[in-house]
């Protein structure tokens, strides 16, 4: 009898490594095959475990599924799963590599915008699961001495995610939401050839994740704050993007939106 550790390793291999044949089932000497072959028995577990993984992929990537169709999505996921076995018991954490996979996969690599839509969906998924944030302490902020203001480091809400793409992924995402699909008047033309870069901010307010288009200077500011840069650094960098922009107004706006939820002073 195979020891338990090896038996379990073989079991996972049989379930995730692809098509089962009489010769490839590693567990054939361990399971009782009086009525059903080892291939048939392992097939039951292979089907159910892959179905469970695919269920989680469908929850994370509903727009990709709509874009490529149910059957193609299932087939693509099967190929993805063969290369990316789960390494977490929390299936919310599974599927991060899907965007890169779509970029390389021979049947999708020519659909150039698809991987960026997948990246947006992954960030949306992460944002929806992030911890709650607290509201900024206005009183404490107002008490920061003027001399220390440049050393302020603002803290972004845990649900904040930033993403930029060369494709109008926000429009593609919006057009594939249930409410848009049900509305016959909601169709718009999306120009995939437009080379205009889109910068996006995702954050959760109450139960809903919002995807907002932001200007290049806003994106630069939020990226700096996400990287824990001081206000002094932010002023310097944002000025190189747009020297007419008012940083005060932007900070005020993002505090009011709840995107900035705290601060520290170096």
């Amino acid at each position: 009898m195979t020891n338990l550790a090896d038996l379990q390793k073989n079991f996972i291999h049989d379930c995730l490594s692809g098509k089962l044949t009489d010769d490839t089932v590693l567990l054939q000497n361990d399971v009782n095959t009086e009525f059903i072959s080892a291939k048939g028995l392992m097939g039951i577990y292979q089907q159910s475990s892959i179905a469970n993984i695919m269920h989680s992929m469908k929850l994370t990537y509903p727009v990709i599924e709509k874009l490529v169709g149910h059957d193609f999505f299932n087939g693509t996921c099967r190929q993805f799963i063969r290369l990316h076995w789960p390494i977490t018991a929390n299936m919310d954490d599974y599927g991060f590599e899907f965007a890169n996979f779509l970029e390389e996969f021979k049947h999708t690599r020519q659909i150039t915008y698809l991987s960026d839509v997948a990246r947006l969906e992954w960030l949306f998924h992460q944002s929806s699961l992030a911890d709650d944030s607290i509201t900024i302490d206005w009183l404490r902020l107002s008490q920061v001495p003027a001399d220390d203001a440049l050393a302020l480091k603002f803290v972004l809400a845990p649900s904040v995610r930033l993403f930029s793409s060369s494709f109008p992924v926000n429009d593609i995402w919006q057009m594939n939401q249930e409410c848009s699909l049900d509305d016959p008047n909601s169709s718009v033309n999306i120009n995939l050839e437009s080379s205009q870069k889109v910068s996006l901010l995702l954050f959760r307010k109450h139960l809903k994740v919002d995807i907002l288009v932001v200007t290049p200077e806003e994106f630069a500011l939020l990226e700096l704050l996400m990287n824990k840069q001081t206000l002094a650094n932010a002023i310097e960098v944002v000025a190189t993007v747009n020297d007419t922009c008012s940083l005060d107004d932007l900070i005020q706006k993002y505090i009011e939106l709840g995107v900035i939820c705290g601060f520290t002073v170096e």
Partner: protein
């Protein structure tokens, strides 16, 4: 800590709104703990409201109690996440399955996979249950699994294996009546004999669910789908289980193609009626 009694149901996403608005008459609810690990998620927000009105049981699927490696990193990480979730939700009961999901310390299959019932496995599962109970600082319940294959080298009957675990670790038993029936058909044993071999005291909860029958290579395989009503034979077995174990808290499970809440409530009332017709109930009210 609250106590739970009577027949509840598994709380599923499609019923969240009804629970908040209508507060259906149920003594308790069971959740799948893994669906609420993230405290900021929409599901957790709903649950925070619902659990103000209902005691909860936290039913886990990812502790992988049968994994060969006690220091399995993927399982340890999950255990820490579950501890935080359980501390936050304060459930009355915590349970997981007599199965495994994590292998070689790294990979994880989201399924409840069968254990060979050997002395080696018994030692390993004992250590794993002790580890989980130490970390959680509480008793957990172990559910008898549904299995579609058996191993050539598996000399200990399942009822004996699970009874030995309860004795050696102090864990409780979550007796899934449907799984007893499913396994009895898949592996050819008498389900009533199974019930008689399980000690009464450790059984702290029971599960009821529906199954499907698939044909594999010309042989019927009973699959625990949680996607159907409880079948008559399982109700009969439940009657015997209540006669033996008393009216232990029971949950109606339904996970795939989850129906209207009214369907689950009818199943709950059917279970209630079995409890009130049980030998235990008649003796008590003599």
């Amino acid at each position: 800590m609250q106590n739970v009694q009577g027949v509840g149901i598994g709380l599923r996403h499609r019923h969240f709104q009804e629970f908040i608005e209508q507060k259906p008459d149920l003594p308790w609810l069971e959740i799948h703990t893994e669906n609420f690990i993230s405290s900021g998620s929409t599901s957790s927000k709903y649950l925070d409201i619902i659990r103000q009105d209902y005691p909860l049981s936290a039913h886990c699927v990812g502790l992988s109690l049968g994994s060969a490696s006690v220091s399995c990193p993927v399982r340890e990480l999950h255990l820490q996440k579950l501890k935080a979730t359980i501390d936050r939700l304060e459930p009355v009961l915590v349970s997981d399955h007599l199965s495994w999901s994590a292998s070689d310390g790294v990979h994880y299959l989201p399924d409840l996979l069968p254990i060979p019932y050997t002395q080696e496995a018994l030692n390993i599962v004992t250590e794993n249950i002790n580890r989980v109970q130490d970390v959680l600082q509480r008793q957990i319940l172990i559910e008898n699994p549904s299995n579609y294959l058996s191993y050539i080298d598996s000399p200990i009957p399942e009822w004996e294996f699970i009874s030995l675990l309860a004795k050696s670790t102090g864990c409780g038993i979550l007796l899934d009546v449907n799984n007893v029936y499913v396994n009895a058909n898949n592996h050819g044993f008498d389900p009533f004999h199974y019930l008689k071999q399980i000690p009464v005291e450790p059984v702290k909860e029971m599960h009821l669910a529906g199954y499907a029958v698939n044909n594999v290579e010309g042989k019927d395989v009973y699959i625990d789908t949680h996607g159907h009503k409880v079948v008559d034979n399982v109700w009969d077995l439940y009657q015997k289980a209540v006669d033996r174990f008393g009216p232990v808290p029971t949950i109606i499970e339904w996970d795939s193609e989850v129906p209207d809440l009214s369907v689950l409530m009818k199943e709950k009332h059917k279970a209630d009626a079995i409890v009130t017709n049980s030998d235990w109930y008649k003796l008590k009210n003599k």
